[in-house]
Symmetry: D3
Subunit: 70 residues, 6 copies
């Protein structure tokens, strides 16, 4: 541990995801004072119809007035 | 928050899933007295070989006597 | 299925949580056209130090300028 | 309950996964003294770019010196 | 991997939980032909108010007609 | 999104956890080129009996020969 599950929208490049897991791991190694090999990260990507804020999926948002997408 | 992860079998239409996240969000807004934009829902769909009840995947069930699929 | 994991901050009453799971289940039964007994909901509550938005835990936010807490 | 989420790398056969969920369920039935139909297992498979140890995805590891892949 | 998240009701003894994780791990080692040290299991226990079937928490069920608790 | 679930052993100070979520968020903001307020982190802590490697809980490990605790 730590074991990290990261949920995000599909569409990012392999390169960006590799940088993200490297940077997150470095952040945990430094702040929690742990060894890198104790950090595991699992990524799950969700399509635009599989993430909703305020009851509206991202895929449906374009047709809807905008709540900031966070 | 709340942040909701919803696991279900693949195969439902976009329309049904949009209705489901809208209705779940409305249910939480009313019962927890929160604002809609605080509700996030992540859907993860599983194939019939990736959900098992009583040690038998849904995909294998058709060849097996029926435990009610819940 | 569906199987729902609901993450929220600690501090809501049993009564409110019972109403929330009943209402969410009813929402899914109606929109997905499923039987109520197929719906399972797991609640995980998080303390104010165990939920962060924009890199700041809820517990630390009071000392910080406000990003809307969603 | 129990409800089990199993994360693993993609690439195993249906046959192996069916055996795995059957064996895990039997293990829980025996050790927890529960009925098989109370055990639900959800499998989520991750690609080699979606699992990282020590900040390096499995897909990137082949180009890197080896930390044991556990 | 595999990484397992096991959700269950509170109340089981340490001894039973130790047996359960040992037996599940052995089941995976045998069926997936993997080394034991690749298997990680995370247990999350839920109180009776934090698990609901059919819209009713386990804690509320005693006052309600019985849907089989699975 | 991203929405991050971080599982770790109990026992770290509030200060360390605040630093960890701040550093992880900064890491994601930089590598994924996103706004900080889109990053949500949920921490779940597990006791020594609720995390097992190789079929042995951390709590039971002291009595057992050591597999490296990662």
């Amino acid at each position: 541990m730590p074991i990290i599950e990261m949920h995000m929208l599909v569409g990012r490049s392999v390169e960006k995801k590799r940088k993200a897991v490297a940077a997150m791991t470095a952040a945990l190694v430094e702040t929690l004072e742990i060894k890198p090999e104790t950090v595991r990260i699992l990524i799950t990507e969700h399509t635009e119809e599989h993430f909703a804020v305020a009851g509206v999926t991202v895929g449906a948002r374009e047709n809807v007035s905008a709540v900031p997408l966070t």
